[in-house]
């Protein structure tokens, strides 16, 4: 019972586009790429194989002439219009794309194009496209939460170099990254947004300690970094000194757009919407096996769960279309993020109610489906990563979309060093924790 919709846009190709499409199709089918696996689990701290594979996939794209399709040729790109990227994404859908290079593609290169010096672009973009350099974002801090501009990492000038000290957290792939884009405070005597600078940091140096950030479910896909006199050459600044907030804002805008569009060569989310509105079969299966399929209360829970799934399937494409058409501002992305938190929370509650005691204790080798076994754990760990995210999304919707007035807040005008802030984080642990 699936509506078979092929949402490729082949029918509007020009001759040139058609040629490109066929070339991409041919190359992809012969490049030995692994197939795309829906909902592949996120890679963990120690999963080196994952990263190595993605480096080789990125290299294969480069070799075929499909890396940086829309980027200027002087930085290693192909200099083609956006339409060609869309075509490539459509053709690449059956294959695994290099997830670990998503940060490069989605959040590093666009602001680098917008704000980076010519030298920086020529030096750093080609190795990213070739699969040589993986980058990470060093923005959030343990002391920071949602108040990014209030960050504490200090950069002080020492002759030809900057020395960075502080700590960063919630970094995806920090331990695998070759370079990081690191926001640090260069002037604490001005208001907080005005004294920040975006640095290009070589991650493989002595002063940079990267440890895994283990979460309550024992997973560790994020890292925390401790910066102890991390050295940055004076030229390795993205944008101008003290103009880092503007760079960070560009970066966050592109990140938001990418999350809405799908991280690894896009469209995954949008593609889902074209599919049939179907209820997760695992859950139905559990209910059937438990003999509860005719229980009216269970049917209410199933019905509500289906509704939630449909909302998460139908709303993002609508919001994306609204933003694309100009009917909604870019801030509307906050709607999708806020909803995913709210829907997630309610969904875990429903799942827990369906799973009952099996969701909190199950035989180790029993025939209990994953969704049920994990129902309780999901209630414990489900969270909008990044801290205070839900609150920020709500403020954005209220102020930017509905036009409600901002609260009076002195923190935008006072010099940073006159503001209250949290204590600096503790020094790095000697050893990464040994918890299993």
């Amino acid at each position: 019972m699936t509506t078979n919709v092929d949402d490729k846009t082949e029918h509007v190709d020009t001759d040139e586009e058609r040629a490109f499409r066929l070339r991409a199709r041919r190359y992809l089918s012969s490049a030995g790429l692994p197939p795309r696996v829906p909902n592949e689990p996120v890679y963990q701290w120690d999963d080196d194989g994952f990263v190595a594979r993605d480096r080789s996939i990125q290299r294969a794209l480069w070799d075929g002439g499909f890396a940086g399709i829309t980027l200027p040729v002087e930085y290693g790109g192909r200099g083609l219009p956006d339409r060609f990227d869309t075509i490539f994404v459509e053709e690449a859908r059956p294959y695994r794309m290099p997830w670990a290079f998503g940060v490069n593609r989605n959040v590093i290169i666009p602001p680098m194009l917008a704000h980076g010096s010519e030298a920086l672009k020529r030096r750093f973009i080609p190795p990213m496209l070739r699969g040589d350099h993986i980058w990470c974002q060093l923005l959030s801090e343990p002391s920071g939460g949602s108040d990014l501009a209030g960050l504490l990492t200090r950069a002080t000038r020492d002759g030809d170099v900057w020395l960075l000290n502080g700590s960063k957290i919630w970094t995806t792939g920090g331990n695998h990254a070759d370079y990081g884009a690191c926001l640090a405070r260069t002037d604490p005597d001005v208001p907080k947004h005005a004294g920040l600078t975006m640095f290009v940091v070589d991650m493989k140096q002595a002063g940079m300690t990267v440890v895994p950030l283990r979460l309550a479910d024992r997973s560790a896909h994020f890292c925390q970094e401790y910066l102890d006199d991390v050295v940055v050459p004076a030229d390795d600044v993205l944008g101008e000194v003290n103009d880092g907030w503007r760079v960070a804002t560009t970066m966050l805008m592109y990140e938001r757009a990418a999350i809405g569009r799908g991280w690894d060569y896009g469209k995954e989310r949008a593609a889902r919407a074209a599919e049939h509105l179907s209820l997760s079969t695992t859950v139905v299966d559990v209910v059937r096996r438990a003999g509860l399929a005719s229980d009216p209360h269970v049917r209410q829970l199933l019905g509500e769960m289906w509704v939630l799934e449909a909302l998460m399937q139908l709303t993002p494409p609508r919001v994306a279309a609204g933003m694309a058409s100009g009917a909604l501002s870019g801030h509307a992305a906050a709607i999708v993020k806020l909803m995913s938190g709210k829907v997630g929370a309610r969904r875990t509650a429903l799942l827990s109610e369906l799973a009952g005691p099996l969701g909190v204790a199950a035989p180790p080798d029993g025939d209990v489906p994953f969704a049920v076994r994990e129902a309780g754990l999901e209630r414990v760990t489900l969270h909008n990563i990044g801290g205070g995210t839900g609150e920020m999304q709500a403020n954005t919707i209220a102020e930017r979309l509905l036009g409600l007035p901002r609260e009076p807040s002195p923190d935008r005008e006072l010099p940073f060093n006159q503001l209250a802030h949290n204590a600096a984080p503790p020094a790095p642990r000697a050893q990464p924790p040994q918890d299993r």
Binding site: H276, G303, L314, A321
Partner: protein, 384 residues
Amino acid sequence: MLVDGEGKRVRYDASEDQQLLRETTRRFLEARSPVSEVRRLLEDPVGFDPRVWREGAELGWASMFVPEAFGGMAESASGAMDAALVAEELGRVVFAGPFLPTNVVAFAVAEAGTEAQRQRVLPALAGGELVATWCFAGTGLSPGTRPVGVRATTAGHGFVLTGDSGYVQDAHVADLFLVTAATETGLSQFLLPAATEGISVTPLDALDLGRRLSDVRFDAVAVDGTSVVGAVDGAADHVERQLQLALVLQCAETVGVVDRVLEITVEYAKDRVAFGRPIGSFQALKHRFADHAMWLEAAKAVTDHAAAAVQLGAVDAAIATSLAKSHVGRSATEITRDCVQIHGGIGVTWEHDLHLYVRRAVSNEALWGTPAAHHERLCDLAGV
């Protein structure tokens, strides 16, 4: 998001034609049927203004499912999607009038009626001269998603209809009833003049002050074969599609209600001062508004999807409409209620229009199947 036959994506705010339709409708309603009409018509025996209804019909409100040959514009319209758009505008003014039942009956007759029925009925419906309504749900606590109230048994060349149909909109003034009844091995539908012997109409005390509802009793109503619409015992598919259309129009109307209430309340929160600043600058209120805006956006997404699915006759149209009804029904009540709360005491006064909106939202949540009834239906549809 749905893809139509030409691979063109359904856009956020519809086509240019549809934008024009929205603007025309809104301007007309602002001029001819603002929300104050609900108060004016409170004690009116008809409950809506027949002139306004006819003027609306001239704008095409009842033509979207009527073929051009019968005075409509079905061929050039996007049926369910256009009708949903108008319904949304009607919701914004808590419109009093037979939009939903008339369109559903026009749709039913256009789809399944005999040539004679179509000729007799469709031009007058499209022109707003005839009012028709649909006897579908049962009375009392029966679920509103299934036709359970009326049975028809064969008698000579005709039928005898017996039973009760509940919550029938505008039955007290309708000229025509489309009656869905259980027959020997399935469902059948009948198109009857309201004046047919044996039909009695009992108006209900309705929460929605802009809409009249009645129970309709069929006391051994004898009808001949010419009143049958579609196949005897074989109307189930048509009934299902009529229900889907009713749900789309109801959801769209509710979306209009919520959209307008949220607009009113955001404006209020910007203007109203407490503790020396606009109440809308207080963060707790902002976060409630953000939730409301978010669920409303989801309501629009799920309603648009349902409208498109019904319009295209998609295989998941039944599912799409029930999903829409569940979310739209519930969220509308919650959002509009909190908007009353945000208004403070003034929001619960008779003088303020808010309660007219909330009444419609709460009423719409309960009619054509409560969210709970649609959860049941969804499980049925999924084969659970």
